[in-house]
């Protein structure tokens, strides 16, 4: 099989995931897109491992081993990620990424009492984005 097929598919899947990470508003959808990117990497790993195991006789099957690790880590990651999203949702009442802007630059004139989610500062920052 031509190696370009899995490689190109993997690249396209990766970029699809990239788009999702950058464009989606809901944090859980962002996590899904991250899964897509991880899977694109996995596909690459598997494809190159198969290719190398035929071309070079002595191999550690490192691609497949790494794929397994990636899958395990992805599972852990999705667990932690969801826990964080849930915690944020419980505290802030939203899981929209672009409403979590505590690191935004604020005008100097505003006092500390305007900090916090849903405040006028956050709304204004969103309006200027």
């Amino acid at each position: 099989m031509h190696l370009a097929y899995p490689a190109v598919l993997s690249a396209l899947l990766f970029c699809t995931g990239l788009y999702g990470v950058l464009a989606r508003r809901n944090a859980i959808l962002v996590l899904m897109s991250v899964e897509l990117m991880l899977n694109a990497v996995n596909l690459n790993l598997v494809a190159f491992d198969v290719w190398l195991s035929r071309t070079v006789r002595e191999t550690l099957h490192s691609g497949q081993a790494l794929t397994l690790f990636t899958i395990a880590i992805a599972a852990a990651e999705i667990g932690i990620g969801l826990a964080i999203v849930l915690a944020v949702h419980r505290n802030r009442g939203t899981s929209d990424i672009d409403k979590l802007r505590d690191t935004a630059e604020r005008p100097e004139s505003e006092g500390p009492d305007t900090e916090g989610p849903g405040s006028s500062a956050a709304e204004k920052a969103e309006a200027t984005a």
Binding site: L22, A23, R101, A104
Partner: protein
Amino acid sequence: MTTTTLAVLVPLLPFLGAVAGLLSGRTAPGFVRPLAVLPPLGSLVLAALVAVRQGGGQAVDAHTELTPTGSVPIELALHIDGFAALVAVLVAFVAACVQIYSTGYLRDDPRYPSYAALVSLFTSAMLLVVYSGDLIVLLVGWEVMGICSYFLVGHYWETPEARAASLKAFLVTKLGDVPFLIGLFALATDAGSFRITRVLGAVAGGNLHHPTVVALLLLAGVAGKSAQFPLHTWLPDAMAGPTPVSALIHAATMVAAGVYFIARLLPVFEASSAAMLVLAVMAAVTMAGSGLAALAQDDIKRVLAYSTIGQLGYMTGALAVGDRGAAVFHLLSHGAFKALLFLAAGVIIHAAGTNSLAAMSRMHGLRDRIPDAYWTMTVALLALAAIPPFSGFFSKESVLGTAEHATGGHTAHVPGAAGWIVLVAGMVTALLTAAYATRLWLLAFRGKGAEAPDHGRQPLTMTVVLWVLAVPSLAFGGLAYRSLPGWFDGRDLAPTLLTSILGTGLALVGGLLTYGAWQRTTALAARTPIGAVAAHPEGDAGLVEAEAIATHEPAYGDIAYAPDPADPGRLLLGPLHRAAASGFHLDAVYTALFVRPVQAGARLVRFLDREVVETYVGAAAALPRLLGAAVRRAQTGNVQTYVSALLAGTVVLAVAVLLVATGA
């Protein structure tokens, strides 16, 4: 001790006195008065010794070079000829008198220690100028005098007049000093040395390449220092200083320095007939103008100030006709009687509580309150008016005689026109001098009206000094005119018959005219009450004077003028009176010509700075501010935006690396 050592000590003593006075003034007030009085007295003794040893013979020359200073060497040099020896005696004599007088005049002044130290420094600087044989060392003394005059004229710095006057004195003299400095450099470049003897040698050898330029440049500095037209305006305003300082400046130091400088370098000026002509015109304008102005002044000290300008005009006139002997002769006699005039005026101001002649003319019996000042002032005024046999007569006649001699064109290096100019102006000024001297005397001592206030006897230190100074005012001229030529260039200084009769006659005419006018106007005095006296007549003379100066403008509407119909000067001058009182509006002319353009230039610079330069600075600040604001807008807090930018950058970099790697 050798003559050289003595001569070095003469300027050094007052300098050390000044330093010690400045250092110990606060900690040891008991030493201030001895430290002020003793060094000038010591200098006087030493200067007299030097003069006796020098004796008008061969000039004493000594020089040492401390360190090499480039192309033209600067040396510590002494050059003591008859002029230097005698002028130094005069300077030390007047300075000692002034210091003694000041102990009484400023006896309660809290700033007396610094005042006395500055007077000592002033004296020291003048003595340095007198003895120095090197032009740069002379310049040092010259400039030290400038700064000392600034401090001393501004002694009453609480009053705005004193502050303005001190600044004006400093700036105007510095205005002359800039061309003076350039002239010195040009002269030294031509002569190859700053030593006076070498410069004179170069002139005699005809090695001076630009005599006219050098002489005119030097003349500017002299005009500033010696208060000659058109740089004389600082001198009347300098009356805002204490009277002893005025006496010192007018009689022996500062203004004398300019005349003395020309006398030393007269061959340089003689090398250019244009410079001599300019000098003559300057002297003539100064003489006649100051005489007219003096006739209109109300402040007794301003009358004396304008008379100083006039007498300095005589000296420069004598130099313009090429006779430095006559000039220094008049400098010496004038130093004595002008110091006396000022010190006596200080006593009068203290006793009367005012400096206004208009107010004095409405006081009865002022002369009985201060008989010492009355008699000595009379002597000094007669000397000023050049009435024989007072000393002013001989010195002035020597000037007029030389001018008369020069009219024939027989004097070497002197154009005949210069002689005529000086002679005619001198005659006119003789008339005017007698007129304002008479006016001063009549208004001050022949007042009618209320009894003059009685503040008790004047301090002994002040009155004794007056009598000491009265002696040379009375007798110096008559005694000295025969022996002085031996000290000077050897030219005869005896009065000639023609000019004596003419000059004395004109002086008598001026005095009688003023007396006649006074007879007519004095009746008006009773009808128009005018005058203001000091608020603290029991204070020391310095305080009274300061108050008198400060109240003159509010009381009379002008610093120099009083609306007094009883003034004989008003009758004599007619329509000229108002202009003469304000010094022929020369200050207004200067304001229009120099002050306003400079202020306009300053405003332009300020505008350029505020509006143009500041715009660049503001833009330099605004650009990063704008950039910062733009960058701050990118700081939205939206993580996705950040990651987008990051990845976009990564893609761009990766593509760039690929293109480079593949050699595209």
